[in-house]
Symmetry: C2
Subunit: 451 residues, 2 copies
């Protein structure tokens, strides 16, 4: 048998055998950063229409209401809460991104664990450890089928996320290696999600299912519900059916030595990634030259042809289009000195000052400019002209967001989506989560006291 | 735009526009036969280990317990009941088979409707109509991606069944054409199931999900949860992602003129299809020549090489292996004059008389014998020898099971799996279901009075 056969059993064994003391400090820290970023996104979007509508249905079928819906008064059973919280964290695509696969790993794994912590006593280290292992499972399985899987049309966050949820909850349950293998098989049988759904609310159903159904997969495995031994690598298993020339070695090479979470990135702005260097250039111009929006006569952006293709949108009609509008991004950056979630609400899109400044933005494409960089030139009424070159992708792996920037992003989202919750206290608890004997209190902090 | 683009919208429009008066009598009759066969299977297998274990988990998370679990005292919310009843009907693969696709269409569509009938008032014609439309949706979508989809590794009953459930419940909800389109999109986003899981319990999770998640898809669509317009035919939609050279015309050609349920077949025996002509030959020999098992010295079977490959299994170790054992099938046919569910229980496999007769069976392969036929020669102690050629597949489309045979199969399963329920009354209600104003009573009849 080739070296990388048997990957389902070997991955399961690794998850079962892993000990907290073997998890490096730097990895523990990255896990906290991922969770902080994830929860901020959920707090920010907990009143999104996707969440409102999904909640109407989930609420009708809830069993024991032990689990918190982030940012809201409703409570649901752990399956329902995991599903809805996965949706709210991911609906703007503002959550973490595992760079090699573009999986959003936290969306499928954190909500099940948060719900589980209200169902059974879970310590901080246990939660962090299970999250790290769950993300490891999702991302390694995702790597094995990348890049074909996603480019062919499988929505990789959902299709692979269900394995992460199953692994994390399986770890919580203390499954045997045999049961963990079955949990992965029970997850494979439920893997779903299509790229076609991405522009629609339906995208979020699959993301919610990945969180929910991983819990089901693990609980069934605990009942010795058999899931086979080769659910990933088998002739008709996940990797072969949804991958082309799948590389199974990605699942098991260096397990326990190299980890996936250090490849997790956080977005500074709730926009298409191609727009990030444009926003950064505008923000630096504004701050370095104290440019007031009323003084601006013209804003010229020079960037890669992909920038025009994706973001040449002078008159966005709402939040979604604004997040991929070059013109809107430049306008809000100069007007507000910020490009956070509140600069991309439907209300922000129709502000007269924003409309006026959007009309002054023009783009030139230049194949010599990389997709991770941008040039912005602003000309003022007084005839002055300032150019800024922003050379890299902030928030990417080369230039990660600092802890302080993640905190600012968190506060910004929490204040917008869940005013009244003690966002600073949540941040503090997350940074110190590995010192907690019981993390049940964390989920409850995500509901404003007034609700 | 080519003729067969836009199939998601057109299929949705057809489902919405369909009227009961346009459904031909013969189709209504076939729908009743499918439902009868389906419910018999669910009654027969409602105590299978798959059901027992899945129920432990489903029971913990049930919302309002309005819906019957077939054959059992437990009640669940409509999502949970739909899921569990789908599993019990299909776990032995003894339910209906849509011949062109090998989809088991009833498993995904009847359980949601049965549960729905306990949640809202549903008339018999409404239930039959929604079932016909749901099966039509599953099977047409399945045809569009066949045969590549299943042979590549997608478990077509589950992957396509979710569309049928969504269509059926969407019809119950009276969705608009726009909402029905979204319901299909919300279903596409949840489509799951791998062939690798077929030998394991995990297979049943996906079957259960197809029934459950179709309901969710329709209920979300009712909330205007958007599912896109091209979830099936889009570049990254269901047919292109999970099919190779998908034929979209199969979804819309002759909608309302040609129907899929007349291509639904019912298995007379709970065994691999290749064994059916062997069993029929044995049963005819036994009855025509009044052969007593004690008189038999040798049984020689001559059949297609595929028969040996699939069923040359002299010493099956349990129910599952017995259902694909040539030797076991011959033995029980001669001993019991039957090959129903009770001849394939774990107990039946270890009966001394069965063991003794299995040892006298031998097979010769002959490529000249078709896979739908078989020759059986029996030699008795007195030296007599009788040969029987059974030339076709009983229960297939050329030689369908009669209503009386379906009733016998139903009674056999009901008595085995759910002794104490009034099986004859259920049969009577199903044959007359189109005369009922309210079918809620049907589900409740499936629980023995003593429970």
């Amino acid at each position: 048998m080739p070296q990388h056969e048997n990957v389902t059993v070997r991955l399961a064994q690794f998850i079962v055998d892993s000990r907290w003391r073997d998890i490096p400090q730097s990895l523990r820290k990255e896990a906290k950063r991922s969770i902080l970023n994830h929860i901020g996104c959920a707090l920010g979007s907990c009143r999104d229409e996707v969440v409102e509508r999904a909640l109407v249905v989930a609420d009708r079928f809830s069993g024991p209401r032990v689990a918190t819906v982030v940012g809201r008064p409703e409570r649901l059973d752990i399956l329902g809460a995991a599903s809805i919280n996965a949706m709210s964290s991911n609906v703007l695509n503002f959550d973490d991104t595992h760079v090699p696969t573009v999986i959003h790993p936290s969306a499928s794994v954190v909500p099940p664990l948060l719900a589980w912590s209200e169902h059974r006593r879970v310590s901080g280290p246990e939660l962090l450890h299970a999250f790290i292992l769950g993300a490891e499972a999702s991302c390694r399985i995702g790597r094995s089928v990348s890049p074909w899987h996603y480019s062919h049309g499988f929505h990789i966050t959902s299709t692979c996320g269900v394995f992460g949820s199953a692994a994390a909850i399986g770890k919580m349950l203390g499954l045997t290696a045999q049961q963990m293998t079955w949990a992965l098989g029970n997850a494979a049988s439920q893997s779903c999600g299509l790229v076609e759904s991405l522009p629609d609310m339906a995208r979020s159903i699959a993301v919610g299912n990945s969180a929910r159904n991983g819990i089901v997969a693990a609980l069934l495995a605990e009942q010795n519900f058999t899931g086979g031994e080769r659910a990933i690598e088998g002739t008709f298993g996940f990797a072969r059916v949804t991958g082309q020339q799948a590389d199974l070695s990605k699942i098991t090479s260096g397990l326990g030595q190299s980890w996936e979470l250090p490849l997790n990135a956080y977005k500074p702005y709730p926009t298409g990634v191609v727009l990030h260097p444009v926003i950064d250039a505008c923000l630096e111009l504004r701050s370095e030259h104290a440019i007031s929006p009323g003084d601006i006569e013209h804003i010229a952006v020079r960037g890669n042809p992909l920038l025009r293709e994706r973001a040449d949108r002078p008159a966005p009609r709402g939040s979604g289009e604004a997040s991929v509008s070059l013109h809107h991004c430049c306008a809000v950056a100069f007007i507000h000195g910020a490009a956070g979630v509140r600069q991309f609400t439907d209300e922000a899109v129709v502000q007269p000052a924003v409309l006026a400044l959007r009309a002054k933005v023009a783009m030139t494409e230049d194949a010599a400019v990389g997709i991770e960089e941008a040039y912005v030139t602003v000309r003022t009424r007084s005839g002055a002209s300032f150019e800024k070159h922003f050379p890299h992708l902030r928030g990417g792996l080369q230039c990660p967001m600092s802890d302080a920037e993640l905190e600012t992003k968190f506060l910004d989202q929490a204040m917008l989506g869940t005013p009244g919750c003690d966002a600073k206290r949540i941040i503090d608890v997350i940074w110190h989560i590995d010192e907690l004997d019981d993390v049940a209190g964390l989920a409850r902090m995500m509901v404003p006291a007034a609700l």
